[in-house]
């Protein structure tokens, strides 16, 4: 879409600042005030792996149609960082706007004729009105929020209301923030024609919704699932999941009478210990989890193999970040899909869940515990930095008070009294899932858990047949798992011969891309896979389509590889659209990819697209 004379509730603002300067508060403030005005909004933070002084960007997309992904273009740039000024200027779409701090002259060389430049002497305004270096820096950022409020016709009352809530206990801060907003607002009103053709207008499309990040939602899911032991080692971008759990647990799990904590929160010495603690606790009958990222999964792999073979439940949240190795810790990718599915040596395979947004993180967190205990195996919930750390607009989270945890096949004291003898790894029900017991319940329930070769009776073995019997039963369990993992989400009438298949946080961009592609007369079906191992429904969808675009966020087509390895699909039908820059995939990337490919096909006159 090119820049139209007037565009309401449909544009992108990008704010370039330096980290550690309080810009996060200003940006959140802007986004939330738009959200509270009933307008769907998306906010994405591109920040450095650093505490203070490096470039950081925040992208706010206002989308009356409720699209939650990056569009791939920038209409208004707030360029607050001299260091990145040149590239920030380049990023603005033709017809767009550039707001900069005019306290200092702008490099004339970077002038663009197709962009409207608005200079605001932010530093000067703040220096004149505030005391102290730190305050002046912080207020400069709040000040541009005031400027934007005037330019976009934002409801200033909403901003005041949000500030009042944030600083309810700090009146001095509230006053200075209010003043900074007003300074920016008044300056813009006095010097520019407000509002701009790009502006916001009150809507009523955010009722029944919240703005929440996936790490917080997943943590809340853990609290609601009844998790009691949380063990972890700090690693970006998963740390805020554990912080949120601690926060919610402090609020809801402290006994009001005794002051005792109905949970244990253990910061481990490393990821190896973190997952070990999770195994120990689950083995002993407490719901326990950890959160980590790719490097942590690498370290946890040995224990994950033990949990797979010894059949110990575990829940692990992998908030994926850019690899390989340390990679770019504060950027997003879906690059652990293979390492998570097959973590550890030997024939191992793990249950994976792929949430697409924070709302799903909440429900899948609960489901992960049920699956881990039902199937007695690790469950890896595959978030990524985009889902985990960015605020997404989601439907309100709801809870069914009738829910009770599925603890799976556990023999209690009464059941153990009745049986002659307990065998840990016997497939009594022929679904591949044996029965387990907890320590301290009954001497008859005692068994020996080991990662070495064992028989179906739980005893040590080096006998080929006895070993294979257990290994083959584990395959039956995985077949059972296919019926338990969340079903794929399938869209479309099933008549299209071509389709998009995707996973996790690609969903928002894919959905928008499908709409755009449809306006060009091309209709594609869509399947979003939500669980591994892949179910029969996934098989069927793949079989029913002749050409399938696989959209994912890594270089090596890991999702496509998993599909070809783990389903019967003819791999010549699959075409990859791979996005791995570290920024969340945009709808434009998918639209361009699909249409470009189809154009080539049309040239080759294949004609498979309906």
């Amino acid at each position: 879409m090119s820049s139209a004379p007037s565009r309401v509730n449909d544009f992108v603002i990008k704010i370039a600042t330096v980290n550690g300067t309080g810009s996060a508060s200003a940006n959140t403030l802007l986004m939330r005030s738009i959200f509270r005005s009933g307008i769907p909004v998306m906010g994405k933070n591109y920040f450095p792996s650093n505490i203070q002084g490096l470039p950081t960007w925040y992208e706010i997309r206002i989308s009356k149609d409720g699209y939650v992904a990056r569009s791939g273009k920038v209409d208004i740039m707030v360029a607050m960082n001299a260091e990145t000024y040149a590239r920030d200027v380049r990023d603005v779409a033709p017809g767009g706007y550039l707001i900069y701090d005019s306290t200092w002259p702008r490099p004339a060389l970077l002038k663009r004729d197709d962009v409207t430049v608005l200079g605001v002497p932010l530093a000067r305004l703040c220096n004149e009105n505030f005391k102290g270096v730190r305050t002046r820096i912080l207020m400069k950022n709040i000040c541009y929020a005031g400027v934007l409020a005037a330019l976009l016709d934002l409801d200033v009352a909403r901003i005041r209301e949000l500030l009042a809530e944030t600083y309810a206990k700090k009146p001095a801060l509230l006053e200075s923030n209010m003043q900074a907003i007003q300074l920016g607002y008044d300056y813009a009103k006095a010097n520019f024609t407000c509002p701009l053709p790009l502006r916001v207008e009150k809507m009523d499309k955010t009722g029944g919704h919240i703005m929440i990040d996936g790490n917080t939602a997943a943590a809340l899911g853990c609290v609601y699932a009844g998790a009691t032991v949380a063990a972890w080692y700090p690693i970006t971008p998963s740390t805020s999941l554990m912080d949120a759990f601690k926060n919610f647990a402090d609020k809801t799990r402290i006994d009001p009478e005794t002051g005792r904590a109905n949970f244990a929160f253990i910061q481990a010495e490393d990821e190896l210990a973190a997952i070990g603690m999770v195994l120990g606790a689950n083995w002993n009958g407490a719901r326990s989890f950890t959160a980590t990222s790719g490097p942590g999964v690498s370290l946890m792999s040995e224990f994950l193999g033990l949990a797979y073979y010894a059949e110990v439940p575990a829940v692990l949240f992998d908030v994926q970040r850019v690899g390989p190795s340390t990679g770019m810790p504060t950027r997003t990718q879906q690059c652990d899909l293979i390492s998570a599915a097959y973590a550890s040596h030997g024939d191992t395979k793990h249950i994976c869940l792929y949430p697409a947004n924070p709302e799903e993180c909440f429900y899948m967190a609960v489901q992960a515990f049920d699956l881990a205990e039902r199937l007695q195996t690790p469950v890896l919930v595959m978030l990524d930095l985009d889902i985990g750390m960015n605020d997404w607009m989601c439907r309100d989270l709801v809870w069914d008070d009738n829910y009770r945890p599925d603890r799976g096949k556990v023999l209690g004291k009464a059941e153990l009294e009745k049986i002659e003898k307990f065998y840990r790894y016997l497939d009594k029900d022929e679904d591949g899932i044996p029965y387990r017991t907890f320590p301290g319940v009954h001497p008859k329930g005692a068994y020996f858990t080991r990662g070495s070769g064992h028989t179906q009776f739980g005893t040590y073995t080096e006998d080929s047949a006895a070993y294979q019997l257990v290994l083959d039963r584990l395959l039956r369990k995985l077949a059972t798992a296919k019926r338990h993992v969340p079903r794929p989400v399938v869209e479309g009438d099933g008549k299209a011969k071509a389709a998009i298949v995707s996973i996790g946080s690609c969903d928002g961009a894919v959905r928008e891309a499908l709409d755009v592609i449809a306006t060009r007369g091309v209709h594609l079906d869509y399947m979003r896979v939500r669980g591994f191992p892949f179910s029969e429904e996934v098989e069927k969808f793949l079989a029913d389509h002749e050409m399938i675009y696989v959209v994912e966020q890594n270089r090596d087509a890991q999702f496509k590889s998993l599909l070809t390895l783990e389903t019967r699909v003819d791999k010549t039908k699959l075409r990859s659209l791979l996005h791995y820059s570290g920024l969340p995939v945009s709808s434009k990337f998918i639209v361009d990819g699909v249409l470009g490919d189809l154009l080539e096909d049309r040239r080759a006159a294949s004609g498979v697209v309906s």
Binding site: F265, V398, E462
Partner: protein
């Protein structure tokens, strides 16, 4: 190596403990270790200790890593759950299991390879976290299963079976544990059952991390001349410096101790550990003094044994510090864990 069950036939006249159980009911599978292995003596001491304090078999959780020592958890108390985990990682399993259920007794069996090399980090952090468990290192100075390489506890100058002489200084778990603030630190010898049994009983009952480093000669790879961890060398250089008696709750101290010689340490459940000093200038309740005393003797080539350090204050145990409830976390009813739909509505207000 295969699993060998022991026939469970008990003679009717075998002595029974308070639970009415005989020693046979504290046994496990048949050991597959080499004949004469020190580890088997430790297994026997554990059986004796558990029987002696009338431990409910199902209340004992047996944890281990990888190595000869780690196999032994299968050889005692078959009525207790066992978890033979991965190399050097037993402490983290113990931490998680203990967090889930504070009511059970946790015994971790490890070796010098498992604890002082690959698992040194987890060993240290288990001490730092003060997990309520008894941690036994069956220390023989070599890697047995992989045929005789030196471990990190091998002394300078000790000779391997094939003649190689170790030149790297050892890591001593006793000094390390004292350094890290462990409240219960003991050293013993697999051949001294009389000393070992009460130490195990006291260690099991001690409300916090309890370490017993047990010299346990490897008959196959480290029992030759020139080895500082052979039976002969150990018998010559290991010297009891403090004896510990474990006195269960309600039992009166039967033996009379000379004044100034016996130091009783009260445990939470009312039982006591009574320390009897064999060296007059030694105070096992003072950890700084104990550390220096033990280190000075090692420098002279003397290895002191017994309960070398026992702290009388026991308020830093993991559950105390974390203020978890008395009811184990794995037994809390779901209603107390789940905040409910109403609360969810309130929690979401922040995100609007």
């Amino acid at each position: 190596m295969t699993f060998i069950p022991k026939p469970k036939i008990a003679h009717p006249s075998l002595p029974r403990n308070e639970l009415g159980l005989t020693r046979r009911e504290y046994e496990g599978a048949l050991s597959t270790l080499c004949a004469g292995c020190g580890h088997d003596s430790i297994t026997a001491a554990i059986i004796e200790a558990c029987w002696g304090i009338s431990m409910r078999p199902e209340n004992l959780v047996k944890l281990s890593g990888i190595g000869c020592s780690s196999k032994t958890t299968a050889y005692f108390v078959s009525g207790g759950h066992g978890f033979n985990s991965v190399h050097g990682r037993m402490p983290s399993i113990a931490m998680g299991a203990n967090a889930a259920n504070r009511d059970l007794y946790y015994i971790g069996i490890s070796g010098d390879g498992d604890s002082l090399s690959i698992g040194l980090g987890q060993f240290c952090h288990a001490i730092r976290r003060n997990v309520n468990m008894l941690y036994i290192i069956e220390n023989n100075g070599v890697y047995g299963l992989t045929k005789g390489q030196f471990s990190a506890s091998a002394d300078v100058g000790t000779k391997a079976k094939k003649g190689e002489v170790n030149q790297q200084p050892p890591i001593d778990p006793v000094l390390l544990a004292m350094n890290l603030g462990a409240g219960f630190v003991a050293r013993s010898f697999s051949g001294d059952k009389a000393q070992l049994v009460p130490l195990i009983q006291a260690g099991l009952k001690y409300p916090g991390f309890a370490l017993i480093d047990v010299l346990s000669p490897c008959v196959t790879f480290n029992d030759h001349d020139g080895s500082t961890k052979s039976y002969a060398f150990t018998r010559e250089h290991y010297e009891p410096v403090v004896e510990a008696d474990f006195v269960p709750f309600k039992k009166e101290i039967a033996t009379a101790y000379a004044a100034g010689e016996a130091v009783p340490v009260m445990l939470h459940d009312g039982s006591r550990v009574v320390l009897r000093k064999l060296a007059e200038d030694y105070d096992p309740t003072d950890e700084l003094h104990a550390h220096d005393y033990v280190q000075q003797h090692i420098a002279k080539g003397e290895y002191l044994t017994g309960l070398l350090h026992c702290r009388s204050t026991q308020d830093t145990e993991f559950h105390s510090l974390n203020r978890t409830p008395d009811l184990p976390l794995n037994q809390l009813p779901f209603e107390r864990l789940n905040p409910g739909s109403k609360q969810l509505g309130k929690l979401m207000a922040r995100y609007r």
